[in-house]
């Protein structure tokens, strides 16, 4: 019964690294990149609830994050306080997620994907065209970050720590959630929806609740996004934005806790690095998308291991015995 298992040691090391990051990074630019990674990771973790564990691929989640962002930004612009604006934003996002769920759960699989895409486009359409409410393409400015308990979040360091707290809360709730009976039943609806129904589970309700949870964290990420940028525009709700988050989930490896976090880190770093050299981010995004889906659909980390093993086996020509596939059959 040793207290220091390798897993716990790794978690402690990761925590130490994250907490001390502003000290060893130093440059505010990179601290800001780290903040971006963290709030996109919160978003990706939220989306992973339904994509990875629920088997429901959504292409409209950027719309949910945008609803939270716009609600808060518009209320702040109308002169309300930070607390009440953020609280209202989360409530509105939850309500929107409920509508989103009721409509999109009319289909599963490809049907679900199409409906979420359409809903995402509707949200984008409202934000873009209803300019008397949302100021159209010009977007809404957010004046200043909040100062919870009198601590100002204006500097890169303090904002990083606030984001880190939210991120850790998200990771912790996800870890607890997926070990809970509810998490197990959600995985059950993904793998064997019909059997779950036969066992007496309400598949629709389980999926509905999963979409609410996913919508909640998308909303939280949306709030962090507007406080980081202090600005929001319809660009946040485009199909590209939804695809970007989906790419984070898929590229890291779905249905894992670390996958979406790794995916968020990869995509945000790529985006920052690539944008520094060329303006063709969408092209790069598309190429990565196509490459990952074609060559390593299970995600970058497990996928590279598999490709490496195949290459190694071919090189060493020891392929006398072909190992059976160990993946569980659906």
């Amino acid at each position: 019964m040793s207290f220091l298992t390798p897993q716990r040691a790794a978690i402690a090391a990761a925590l130490l690294l994250l907490v001390t990051l502003p000290i060893w990074v130093g440059n505010p630019y990179y601290i800001n990149v780290a903040s971006q990674i963290l709030f996109f990771a919160v978003f990706a973790l939220g989306l992973n609830v339904i994509v990875g564990y629920g088997g429901l691929v959504s292409l409209g989640h950027a719309g949910l994050a945008a609803i939270a962002g716009y609600t808060a930004a518009l209320m702040l612009a109308a002169g309300h306080g930070h607390f009440i604006s953020d609280f209202a934003a989360i409530l509105v996002t939850l309500a929107a997620s409920a509508v989103f769920a009721v409509l999109s759960l009319r289909g599963t699989g490809i049907g679900f994907l199409m409906i979420t895409l359409a809903i995402g486009q509707i949200i984008w359409g409202i934000l873009y065209r209803w300019s008397s409410l949302t100021n159209g393409d010009n977007g809404v400015n957010v004046s200043g970050r909040p100062a919870p308990f009198g601590i100002s979040l204006a500097s890169a360091d303090s904002f990083y720590y606030a984001t880190l707290l939210v991120f850790l809360a998200a990771v912790a709730t996800m870890a607890v959630f997926f070990r809970s009976p509810f998490g197990a039943s959600l995985r059950g609806t993904r793998d064997q929806a019909r059997r779950m129904t036969a066992l007496g589970y309400n598949v629709w309700l389980i999926r509905f609740l999963a979409i609410l949870i996913s919508g909640f964290w998308s909303g939280v990420a949306g709030l962090l996004f507007i406080y980081y940028n202090q600005f929001i525009s319809p660009q946040v709700a485009t199909l590209t934005a939804s695809a970007e988050v989906l790419l984070m989930v898929i590229s890291g490896g779905t249905a894992t806790l670390l996958g979406p976090i790794a995916g968020a880190a990869i995509v945000v770093i790529m985006k920052n690095v690539v944008s520094a050299y060329i303006v063709r981010w969408n092209l790069v995004l598309g190429v990565i998308f196509v490459l990952i889906i074609t060559f390593m659909p299970e995600g970058l980390v497990p996928g590279s291991v598999r490709l490496w093993r195949t290459a190694w086996r071919k090189l060493s020509r020891r392929d006398g015995v072909i190992p059976a596939k160990t993946e569980p059959t659906p």
């Binding site: 691929v57 292409l59 409509l103 009319r106 289909g107 699989g109 490809i110 049907g111 994907l113 199409m114 409906i115 895409l117 359409a118 486009q121 509707i122 359409g125 409202i126 873009y128 065209r129 209803w130 300019s131 008397s132 485009t238 199909l239 590209t240 695809a243 989906l246 898929i250 063709r280 969408n282 092209l283 995004l285 598309g286 190429v287 990565i288 998308f289 196509v290 889906i293 074609t294 659909p297």
Partner: protein, 286 residues
């Protein structure tokens, strides 16, 4: 009075364009079971190719056919060498078309820049027809006529030829169709190419009227999506009715509620989803 009539004529010609776009989308969906998220990109790329051809003073119809031919080839290659690799994994195929659509959008932006291109309406299609005291622009009527001709052609092909029978068999039950010796994979390539060609043709036909600009792809894709959800997947009649419905809704919505026009467009789709998920003319999805 005249405003309403103009709107109606615009609605009908937009409906015709939408039919050309969504007929292919619907057939691909019916046969391959995937929404082809590249369809808007086919429309836009086809339109750009047509515009470039028109700039070299090629005849309008020849330009439209050349563009359709080029997209037939591109569509066929994409199906044969990319989508085929992922046969049976519908989700991966959809995401692949999404990734490709970003690539097409950025490549178009690189080649044709961000400025909108609007070719002049070809000379022999300018002017208007007078019926009583009313004037109808010829070009809009020609779009409608082309859509009707193609609709009849597609209907004859699907309902009255051996090829059409094979396609219907593939739509109904692909595994059994394979068992009786129909090469369903070849049909996939064929239908995908045909859909790409129709979308490109629609793109060129629409260019003098909609103009071509970056973002046109993701403006047309949701329209095709709505039409097919409304009409039912794999149903040509559904695509036809859905296209004209959306054509009217789009133009009248924009004239009456400019702020919310885009949202109004999606309302019938939401209604259909709630009340009749298989679409107006579709059968229940297996």
């Amino acid at each position: 009075m005249n405003l309403w009539l103009t709107l109606a004529v615009n609605s009908i010609s937009l409906g015709g364009l939408l039919f050309l776009l969504s007929a292919g989308f619907s057939l691909i969906f019916g046969l391959m079971r995937i929404p082809n998220l590249l369809h808007g990109s086919f429309f836009m790329l086809g339109a750009y190719l047509g515009v470039s051809a028109l700039n070299w003073h090629i005849n309008f119809w020849v330009a439209a056919l050349l563009s359709a031919l080029a997209m037939t080839l591109i569509g066929g290659l994409i199906e044969r060498f990319l989508l085929r690799r992922l046969a049976g994994q519908e989700l991966a195929q959809v995401l692949l078309t999404l990734g490709l659509s970003f690539i097409v959008a950025d490549v178009c932006l690189m080649i044709w820049t961000g400025d909108p291109w609007q070719p002049a309406t070809p000379e022999h299609l300018r002017g208007a027809v007078q019926v009583g005291t009313l004037f109808f622009p010829i070009y809009r009527l020609v779009i409608l006529a082309v859509a009707i001709v193609i609709a009849i052609g597609l209907w004859l092909m699907i309902d009255w030829t051996r090829l059409g029978a094979m396609i219907r068999a593939g739509v109904d039950d692909a595994p059994i169709a394979r068992v009786v010796g129909i090469k369903v994979s070849q049909l996939f390539t064929l239908i995908f190419s045909l859909g790409a060609a129709l979308a490109a043709f629609a793109g060129v036909m629409g260019a003098p009227y909609l103009s071509v600009y970056p973002g046109l792809d993701f403006e047309m894709l949701p329209l095709a999506l709505i039409v097919v959800i409304l009409g039912g997947t794999g149903s040509l009649l559904g695509a036809l009715v859905g296209s004209f419905l959306i054509g009217f809704l789009y133009n009248f919505g924009q004239a009456m509620f400019p702020d919310l026009a885009y949202v109004i467009l999606f309302l019938p789709m939401l209604l259909v989803l709630v009340l009749r998920p298989q679409g107006l003319f579709g059968r229940a999805m297996p």
